[in-house]
Symmetry: C2
Subunit: 309 residues, 2 copies
């Protein structure tokens, strides 16, 4: 069974920056008030590109930065909560835009934790040697589903896209996942084409803070590891208060959790690969480093991946 390694990564963020002044003008909410409650100074709301164009921009960024031959890619898995593309899905449109000749395309609908599912499925195709090089793309245009009057969600959420390119590796690399769903609590975070996004912030906080910590501890235990073995936790960038509570409960240093919420906001399922891409750009990740990515959100869905770089 083959191991998997990341060979490329890219991001797309919209041109239109929404800083906290926007909410000050609209709701008289001061920058510091928002920052204290969310950890966010700015987010992006797309006003030009559609979901496919956003996804393609992220893929092109990855391809150019890492000098990837697109014809190597034999699998595209796209995930999004806020796509308007139902047939063909975004993955097929990426294939078309990049004119990738031989390829299997899959689209997932999976809430904020969708990237974890997409990454894990891509890894399975690679480790079973049915795919050599997989492109995993997460894209969100949450702004189209926002109730702009709802400060619980509108001050937090932003648009963005990111792509991660995976290949099989001859070196044996540690990989493990723990993905679990709690459909029973699905009503806490909902979105449909008829209704705007709704979040029960209080109960999502409880879910996010307790379940993620249990999930990470289980993942470590399953692999006979402790947090000392982990260089970074790369979580879904939901809200600073949730992330601070997870840091406290895990009893880790602030530096061990990678946070880039301040200048990007919560981009749903795109938040983990955007963070990962920044970490690669900053050269924070080196071979043999072990990281844990953890997604949580709508579904409710929850999942972590232990990955050796």
């Amino acid at each position: 069974m083959k191991s998997v390694k990341i060979v490329g990564s890219g991001t797309y963020l919209p041109k239109q920056v929404i800083d906290n002044d926007y909410f000050n003008n609209k709701f008289s909410l001061k920058d510091d008030w928002i920052y204290k409650r969310t950890g966010i100074r700015k987010r992006y709301w797309e006003d030009e590109k559609n979901v496919t164009q956003m996804a393609v921009a992220a893929v092109k960024n990855a391809i150019n930065k890492y000098n990837i031959d697109v014809q190597q890619i034999d699998c595209i898995i796209a995930c999004s909560t806020t796509t308007d593309k139902i047939m063909p899905g975004v993955s097929f449109e990426i294939q078309k835009e990049l004119d990738i000749k031989k390829c299997m395309c899959i689209d997932l609908l999976a809430g904020c934790s969708g990237y974890i599912n997409a990454f894990d499925i891509a890894r399975k195709y690679i480790c079973l040697e049915e795919v050599e090089c997989a492109l995993v793309v997460a894209v969100e245009k949450v702004s189209e589903f926002l109730n702009y009057e709802d400060i619980n969600t509108s001050i937090i959420l932003g648009d963005g896209a990111a792509a991660t390119i995976l290949k099989s590796s001859k070196e044996l690399k540690i990989y493990s996942q723990k993905i679990e769903s709690i459909g029973q609590e699905g009503h806490l975070l909902t979105c449909s084409y008829k209704n705007k996004l709704y979040m029960d912030g209080k109960n999502i906080y409880k879910f996010a803070v307790t379940k993620t910590v249990d999930n990470i501890n289980d993942l470590l235990k399953n692999n006979n590891l402790t947090l000392d073995d982990i260089k970074y936790i790369v979580p879904h960038q939901s809200n600073m208060r949730i992330m601070e509570a997870i840091i406290k409960r895990l009893n880790i240093s602030k530096e061990k959790m990678y946070v880039n919420l301040e200048n990007i906001g919560n981009t749903f399922c795109a938040s983990i690969p955007i963070a990962l891409d920044e970490m690669y750009d900053k050269k924070l990740l080196n071979p043999k480093d072990k990281i844990i990515m953890i997604g949580y959100g709508g579904g409710l869905n929850l999942g972590s991946i232990l990955l050796e770089i």
Copy 2:
């Protein structure tokens, strides 16, 4: 690596039957004219249940028929082209409705061939021993996306749902897949929340007739098998003319292709598992039989699975 076997199967079809008289009244199209061109006498259009309720009804049919303990299910993969459920997805709502305690939920958006993708992903989780029992559900409420004035699509398409339950098998069973996408031709079959379903029937016919035959021949070749080794081809039930052309090009007997289009119509990604469920009900499938399921449609997406029962 574990093998996979089907341990349960069920179907849900709506109460409202739309027979060819409906189109005779609307467009003065005679029953025989429609039947000659499509192979279809009736289809179902849902007017009561939502997509989740349809999916749950199919799952309950499977559970009751095969006496399945739902708490065994540790993975639900739902696929649909026509869901209005974006968060939580249908898989999460099935988990909630059946109150399944420990489970991973995934939703795919994948056009008419989505069941093949969902089945193949479920099989990967089982064969890597990360899942013991997977529920694969395909559900379509195509009637919500129909342009009723477009006789190319409205006389063919119907609503329906089906569930297949997979478990790991101690016996070694043959399994192989060939899934490929052609996003470059995605414009031939499209659907979005803003625009109704559109199909370029002529070019979809060409795609369906040529690519499926090549795909099946490649799958057989990869496994050193011939059509003589295959008991049934179970295709996406698209249109009798397409299926007859495939029969001719494969040079197989009519009996080798399972067809149930006449009384159900084309139910997009639900059509293969509905056909499979009928075949189990009719006791057409026995241990050691080899079948090939083949999906094709929007994306464009195309995929076959060689399965030993």
